[in-house]
Amino acid sequence: MSPAHDALIVLIPRLRRYARVLCADAASADDLVQDTLERACERLAQWRSGSDLRAWSFAIMHNLFVSETRRPRYRLEVAADAAPGDATFDPGASWAAAHDLERALRALPLAQRQALLLVAFEDMSYDQVATVMGVPLGTVMSRLSRARSRLRQLLDPDAGGAPRAAPRLRLLK
């Protein structure tokens, strides 16, 4: 097995976690990860050794996800099932907060959600996010702005003085 395969295995937990928040349930998320890994192996020849394998893999996942969104396969919008082991979650309040956060995330347009997750989850630089998403840096920054503003409104509709004149979209309340 080549070092590239080893490196892919090391990336699996990160890919799974990211997919878990994008997809509706754990099985769909693992389907997405599996498709990503298969695609990555098929194209491993195209990967230049020494370049950023993580950004490359996330770009594959991003493209798969975007194309599959048009031909739904991974189940995107419904909130996640309770995963096994949830009994060890933090007590009440923070569980509810995390659940509301996941719901609000899913209400964001896909491109905004991905920009935010790549930064917040993966701690990617803004330039890396631009590479993964295949858009200019300025586009990443404006998606990030919209994602953060809208998430704040969704989570706290009463948060006063949102400085931008974005439409006030209220999720359920």
């Binding site: 799974r16 693992d30 995963a83 060890t88 907060a97 989850f121 803004y126 953060r148």
Partner: protein, 282 residues
Amino acid sequence: MTADRDELHAWVDGRLDGERLRRFEQRLDADPALRAEAQAWRSQTEALKGLARDVLDEPLPERLTAAAQGIAPGRRTANAPGREAAASADAVRRARDPRLWLAAATLAALAWTAGWISHARFAPPGASLARTAPPEFVRDAVAAHVVYAPEVRHPVEVAATQHEHLVQWLSKRLGAPLTVPSLDARGWSLVGGRLLPGADGARAQFMYQDASGARLTLYVADAGGLSGDTAFRFDSDGRIAAFYWIDGRFGYTLSAQTDRATLLALAEEVYRQLTRASPAPA
């Protein structure tokens, strides 16, 4: 200004240091609204970092480590997947895709609801005592029952195994403490619940299941302007039977594909448990 915006994100993500950090902190000191937004974004980002963190520690599924090594996946065929095999596997996956199913169920729900409403509207006078068109929340409750009761993969959003979390979360979202009746003694166990949107706020649906797999839903909605407490009212389109009532702030709808007498007994039990949990103010 774009430069400001970029500095703001960099501050939120902890990517400023030295002179840039010092300068931006001064900007924040001078602009309380900007500081409020920056802090809200930062705490939002901290919360995001905590999401699904447990996934990182889960054991790796074998099918994924195999895929990472370029080994032919078990999900499709054991041999190198021919186009036909892959295509048929995809077809199976699509056919099982609950979203397609959900779309179909939603259409069915619309059709059913339309029938249900016209049924209510055109029922002959005197067909039952004091028949009036049911409130809007009852229509929504029946539609939600039709959509979610047949769901296989996602009948509920939060499972009954997380009972405490479920009740606290839905109570928070509906803005009042909720009680989930226990119907185990009647042979119905709680599957879980979900949050649903309504015209005037969030609503909750709790789902129960009996040994045969039949499903019963209790739908809780803010009764809005509807006044006072009401007696049980019954309606049915011939397939889905529903008892509904208003008690204090909330309207309740109990729906199932069952006969009136069975559902009435369950509705009485639900009502009893709900009033016991929160006795009406004197």
